[in-house]
């Protein structure tokens, strides 16, 4: 029996090892993961890593070029250290990306689950709502809601989350409808289990893989949108070092000092790119067809 246990542990471990193996085959995925790890580490240890307080102004030393003593990436128009601001900004951007997508994925999955499982008028209601959300131009909708709620970092997360749920609802609904005709779901019904138990214990775990994949691929979108909001002045407000807001501030000095606008733009680009690489690799690792081929 103990031998059996060890064998089972081994299969569980080998499955994980297999996932890691498939992931590591994806070269761009590894590159993305390394880049992303840098950003995450910077975000987590921001106060330790950043050489300066991101809000501390040094009015005697504005527009310092990159590589000037004490300021690796130079300073902005108020003499604030750009590197420190970028490091603190990674906290805000990553947090917004992850929280917004989590809100969207949870909300969308639940509504999609209900729509797919019950069908009928519940399905009609949810799907019409999805269509309404899709019919609105995304950014206009976000700006509209932000204008009502008022700009703040939390409102950005909530709004981006609430606005992007339809994608997940559609995804989950389609999966649920396919799974509903599987015999194991019918068996669960035949055993007299409650609807909630069937939905969350039997169906949801089986639709989670595509949700995780699109969530990973959705994070860069949310980060871009928050940057866009910041740029337009509806997102995180100055002096907070959100990347989009930094680009927005920098655009006024673009012709005097391009240094200020390049770095935050570069950060957005790199984070989005690394998330996309990682998302692709995760999708490949979780794809059972691909996994089987490599077995």
């Amino acid at each position: 029996m103990s031998r059996d246990m060890s064998r089972e542990e081994k299969t569980a471990r080998s499955e994980l090892a297999h996932l890691v193996k498939v992931f590591l085959r994806h070269r761009l995925g590894v590159v993305g993961l390394v880049m992303l790890s840098c950003f995450v580490l910077a975000a987590v240890f921001a106060p330790v890593v950043a050489p300066y307080d991101p809000l501390e102004m040094d009015l005697l030393n504005p527009f310092a070029p990159p590589g000037s003593p004490g300021h690796l990436l130079g300073t902005d128009n108020y003499g604030r250290d750009i590197l420190s601001r970028l490091i603190h900004g990674s906290r805000i951007s990553l947090l917004i990306g992850i929280v917004a997508v989590t809100i969207a994925a949870v909300l969308g999955s639940c509504l999609g689950l209900l729509a797919g499982y019950y069908g009928g008028w519940v399905d009609a209601l949810v799907m019409r709502l999805v269509e309404v959300f899709y019919a609105f131009p995304f950014l206009i909708l976000v700006i509209g809601v932000m204008a009502v709620l008022g700009p703040s970092i939390y409102n950005v997360m909530i709004v981006l989350g609430v606005v992007s749920w339809p994608l997940y609802a559609r995804l989950v609904r389609a999966q649920v409808m396919a799974l509903k005709s599987e015999d194991f779901v019918k068996a669960a019904t035949a055993m007299g289990l409650s609807d909630a138990r069937i939905m969350f214990r039997h169906i949801l775990p089986n639709v989670l893989t595509p949700v995780i994949v699109s969530a990973t691929l959705g994070i860069p979108g949310a980060i871009l949108s928050s940057a866009a909001l910041g740029f337009l002045g509806f997102g995180v407000q100055p002096p907070w070092p959100e990347w989009g807001a930094m680009v927005s501030e920098a655009k006024d000095f673009m012709l005097i000092d391009s240094n200020m606008i390049i770095w935050p733009g570069m950060c957005v680009f790199l984070v989005v790119l690394s998330f996309n690489f990682v998302g692709d690799a995760v999708r490949d690792a979780l794809d059972p067809r691909l996994a089987k081929q490599l077995h």
């Binding site: 246990m5 015999d183 194991f184 019918k186 068996a187 035949a190 055993m191 007299g192």
Partner: protein, 370 residues
């Protein structure tokens, strides 16, 4: 009860034999007597499941803005039968004849269009969803496909434990003990509970499916083509397991299948379905040795015989054409379009189910005329 129906079958066959050998008339008379007795006795025990005029139609809709029902697929179109405690009723027919639909409607996985079902004395279709949920444990189902019938994200232990836990049958250590017991009952190892379904073969998975059906200690198990997806050697193992379990726990089965050889092996009585209707129903020996309905005859003549000598003696009946669409089934007897014996009356009027003796029911104007 099973023994009684066997007696009845002997009675039904006897007249035919008497015709060939006149000197055994006394025997035949005794058999006729036995038959009438059997007919009386068969009615005695209250059936576990009574199905009366069960109908399941699926709507065919058309139109985009306003959906209108333009027709209906008559999957099950008024069938009646009874299942007695401890017996196995085989339900056979071609694919699309409505046998699986019958199973699903009996399980109330789908709601019937009309008809009545009494299960263990309860008006089964009048139960509310809430009442039904608590009583579902009494009737369980085993599905055809052993790959889609088990949740891939749950361990076998969780699959077997969940129904018992949710119905408050057992918890904790007792639950664990019952799971291990179930695994052993169906011939698996008790340590298999920690594995996932994908680690098992088709036959083993079907055993898990059977164990899950047994977990709630049901009175009736509907076996929806439980061996059709398995290799022949594995089929035999699962069939033997099912018969052993039936003996051990006094189970009642409704066995749905298209394989007549398998049905013959496991059933006590057999009902033959064609296009949503039962055309013939009798105990196994009577049906297989003396099929009355021309459709049953054709089906039986299509069963491959392993012994080449037996093959020569048999007359093959090859049916013309395809099964008509259940959207627009033929008038009168549904089989008349393909029946070699069809007469005018068959096209006009639906033949009633007639008891030709010994509980052998047949719906045919030619073979079972009143």
């Amino acid at each position: 009860m099973v023994g009684v129906s066997r007696q009845g079958q002997a009675g039904a066959r006897a007249p035919a034999r008497a015709h060939v050998q006149p000197d055994t008339r006394a025997q035949a008379e005794a058999a006729v007597q036995a038959r009438t007795q059997a007919a009386v006795e068969v009615r005695k025990p209250a059936p576990l499941l009574v199905v009366k005029d069960l109908v399941k139609h699926y709507p065919v809709t058309q139109g985009i803005l306003r959906r209108r029902q333009v027709a209906s697929v008559r999957a099950v179109d008024g069938i009646s039968f009874e299942v007695y405690q401890g017996e196995t009723l085989g339900l056979v027919g071609e694919s699309g004849c409505g046998k699986s639909t019958t199973g699903r409607v009996l399980m109330r996985l789908e709601e019937p269009t009309s008809g009545k079902v009494w299960f263990d004395g309860t008006d089964w279709f009048s139960l509310s969803q809430r009442e039904l949920r608590a009583r579902r444990r009494e009737m369980q189902i085993v599905f055809q496909d052993p790959f889609s019938s088990l949740n891939p994200r749950m361990t076998v232990g969780q699959i077997l434990g969940e129904p018992m836990y949710m119905h408050g049958i057992a918890r904790g250590a007792e639950l664990q003990r019952r799971i291990e017991h179930l695994l052993e009952v169906v011939g698996l190892d008790r340590s298999h509970g920690r594995r996932y379904p994908h680690e098992f073969s088709g036959g083993q998975r079907q055993r898990i499916g059977v164990a899950r059906a047994l977990a709630l200690n049901p009175k009736l198990i509907i076996l929806d083509e439980p061996v059709s997806a398995l290799d022949v050697s594995v089929q035999a193992q699962v069939i033997n397991l099912l018969t052993d379990l039936q003996r051990e726990f006094g189970l009642t089965y409704v066995f749905i299948a298209h394989d007549l050889a398998v049905v013959r092996h496991i059933s006590d009585r057999v009902a033959v379905m064609y296009l949503g209707k039962i055309v013939e129903m009798a105990d196994k020996t009577s049906l297989y040795s003396n099929p009355l309905h021309p459709y049953t005859e054709a089906l039986l003549s299509a069963v491959p015989i392993p012994n080449p000598r037996g093959r020569a003696e048999r007359r093959r009946i090859i049916l013309e054409g395809d099964v008509p669409s259940p959207v627009a089934p033929p008038s009168g007897c549904r089989f008349h379009t393909r029946c070699p014996l069809a007469r005018d009356v068959c096209k006009k009027e639906t033949p009633p189910m007639v008891d030709v003796g010994g509980g052998h029911l047949c719906a045919c104007w030619v073979r079972a005329d009143v």
